[in-house]
């Protein structure tokens, strides 16, 4: 009964004209962003974040979330038609999607990836509605000690599970922590690292950091990389219809992909790319015909597609129930909540039921919209891919500049974006993942606040972090992750040395 009344509240919230419009706008922008290689959903979300300051919190999150999961749908289109992954998570779809297109089955591939995306998202939204409220109720009993340890685990996971060197992941998190410390210390009112600059007294704007390291850095990094598209296969309605064999071969991979994606999305620091690659690897391993993979196996596109869409939805579970963002996109969502005066944590669902349930229903609406819109708009997306880089990217930089200016009406924010753009570009060139930096920036002040509060309540006794069972479990998991990472590094180095010696 309670669930029914909550769903009714969600329907009432999501079906307002404003929320429906922003949901449709979000998923359409997301699809567009997903199709265009070189513009990530992070850049798009950070670019549009300032525009959501002028609408209610629920509407803002509905639109930003729409961009995120809409991009997962669109990402596979360019992978299949052009062998260009629109998003990192859809890179794996190139492996079998492009061969399918070369065999004249691009329509079937597009249809099946759309259906797989819908299945993955839809099932995970139901999981979110079923499990998020009980998890939040459980987490209400957490105190500052548990929160500190949980956030520590989130940061360790974000640093360790990144692609590339874990040392660089840790360095990026620490850099984020330092950036989060800039401004007024909430406990004492003292200025830290503001160097007398008044625009830094309230801290560095999250939008400036996100737009710089994701938006501007991507524009810079794509110079000379993204080539204009000249042609792509034409898609007719008839070519979209899959055979009975295609459907039969796709059903179980879709469900397995959904399971993998849901599990991976909940874990901090993982994200949609790991989910799709893992689903692909599992399908290949359990397949009776692994040799088919890479040559146009339909399981090779449906499993990763359902996995990355499921992960995009399940990432909201820790974000909305615990206030712990699993990846950089979720960190931006938390940033948006904070801007709207909503403190992330287990009380979000009980204090703002219309936000949570409205979001759940809007996910369902958004996914239905994507299912309907994805295929008819393919032709339009392919035409958009022909827009030359020197015209498309200055527009992005311009929107970034105006967007960040509109927050505080300060030209200093545009300068900050430029500085973070260069920093983001340097990080990309040197093999640092920028996402952990944003997580460090968001979680840093929260970690510090909870650490100091826990110590103050326990007269400075550090043992409190290992005496409380929940906190001890999180600390133990963090230590295990670090140990596993160190072991993997040593093992990899030994293997490389042995290979070099041969």
């Amino acid at each position: 009964m309670d669930l029914l009344s909550n769903l009714a509240l969600g329907i009432e919230t999501a079906f307002t004209l404003e929320n429906l419009l922003y949901c449709a706008l979000g998923v359409t922008i997301g699809m567009f962003i997903g199709v265009i290689p070189g513009i990530g959903h992070l850049a798009a979300i950070s670019m549009l974040l300032p525009l959501t300051f002028y609408v209610p919190a629920t509407t803002a999150i509905v639109m930003l979330a729409g961009i995120y999961y809409g991009a997962q749908y669109g990402g596979s289109t360019a992978s299949i038609l052009l062998n260009l992954p629109g998003t990192p998570a859809s890179a794996v779809v190139c492996l079998d999607g492009y061969p399918m297109a070369q065999q004249g089955r691009a329509g079937v591939a597009l249809m099946m990836t759309t259906v797989a995306s819908f299945v993955g998202s839809f099932i995970t939204v139901i999981v979110l509605a079923a499990f998020a409220p009980p998890l939040a109720s459980f987490a209400v009993a957490f105190n500052s000690t548990d929160y500190f340890s949980m956030m520590l685990l989130g940061l360790v996971a974000a640093a360790i599970l990144v692609q590339g060197s874990p040392v660089k992941g840790i360095a990026a998190v620490l850099l984020g922590l330092i950036l989060g410390l800039v401004g007024t210390d909430v406990s004492t009112g003292i200025q830290r690292y503001a160097f007398g600059l008044t625009f830094l007294y309230d801290g560095i704007n999250i939008v400036a950091i996100a737009m710089g390291i994701f938006g501007v850095a991507e524009v810079i990094a794509n110079v000379g990389k993204v080539k204009g598209v000249q042609s792509a296969q034409k898609i007719t309605f008839r070519s979209l219809i899959p055979t009975r064999q295609d459907v039969k071969q796709s059903i179980m991979p879709m469900f397995r992909g959904t399971g993998i994606g849901t599990g991976v999305g909940i874990l901090p620091g993982t994200g949609t790319s790991i989910a799709s690659f893992l689903a692909y690897a599992v399908e290949k391993r359990i397949s009776r015909h692994p040799a088919k993979f890479g040559k146009g196996a339909i399981e090779g596109i449906t499993a990763p597609e359902s996995a990355n869409n499921a992960a995009a939805q399940s990432a909201f579970i820790p974000t909305l129930t615990l206030g712990i963002p699993g990846d950089a996109v979720m960190a931006l969502m938390l940033g948006a909540l904070l801007i709207h005066g909503i403190t992330p944590g287990p009380n979000v669902i009980s204090d703002n039921p219309s936000l949570f349930w409205g979001l759940v229903i809007s996910f369902l609406i958004g996914n239905v919209l994507l299912l309907i819109l994805n295929i008819p708009l393919v032709g339009l997306w392919v035409r958009l891919l022909k827009v030359p880089y020197p015209l498309l990217y200055p527009s992005i930089v311009l929107f970034i500049a105006i967007g960040v200016y509109s927050i505080n009406y300060s030209h200093m924010d545009i300068m900050l974006v430029a500085v973070f753009g260069v920093l983001g570009c340097l990080m990309l060139l040197l093999g640092f993942e920028p996402a952990p930096l944003l997580l460090g920036y968001i979680l840093g002040p929260m970690i510090e606040e909870n650490f100091r509060r826990a110590l103050m309540l326990n007269q400075g006794d550090m043992m409190v972090f290992v005496e409380r069972p929940v906190s001890a479990a999180f600390i133990a998991l963090s230590v295990l992750l670090l140990a596993w990472s160190a072991y993997s590094m040593v093992k990899d180095r030994r293997t490389a040395r042995m290979a070099a010696g041969q």
Binding site: P388, A401, I402
Partner: protein, 172 residues
Amino acid sequence: MTETRSIGATLFNAAVVVGAAVAFVASGNLPDIGGQGSLPPSFFPRVTTAAIALLASICLIRDVAAMYRAQQRPCFPSITLVGVAGLAIFAVMMGYALLFERLGYILSTALFVVTSVAVLSLLARRSGQEKGAWSLRRGVGLVVLALAFAITIFYLFLVGFSITLPGLPLAD
């Protein structure tokens, strides 16, 4: 012939070590406020900067040791297209930020669009990403497009989002 090795990463690590050391010292100037069991505001900055300095030092030592072991000759990193693009976009954005309130939104934005399209076109041509020659007609077209774009965005923000941008040069 001795092999060469770019010191780009080494320089970056060295800069991080220096930056972290400066931030560590700066945190020492923070007042030592803190009562029974509570931590002073300098605690987290010190721990974080020390950890950054330590990690960057390890990376720096490993870099230098690898170069020494392999008997490679250090060399400055070559100037890449991305590097040039980074500097160009940085300069254009900084210029835009400085001119934004002086020239007003419409003129500074049109200037920004013309400059950035020209810079990115030039870089894209150098990489073979774009083809086609520049002409006076295309240049004039770009200026007209930039002005139209700036005015459209100005009214979009004004009407659509109720955000007033400084339209024309601000009077002193």
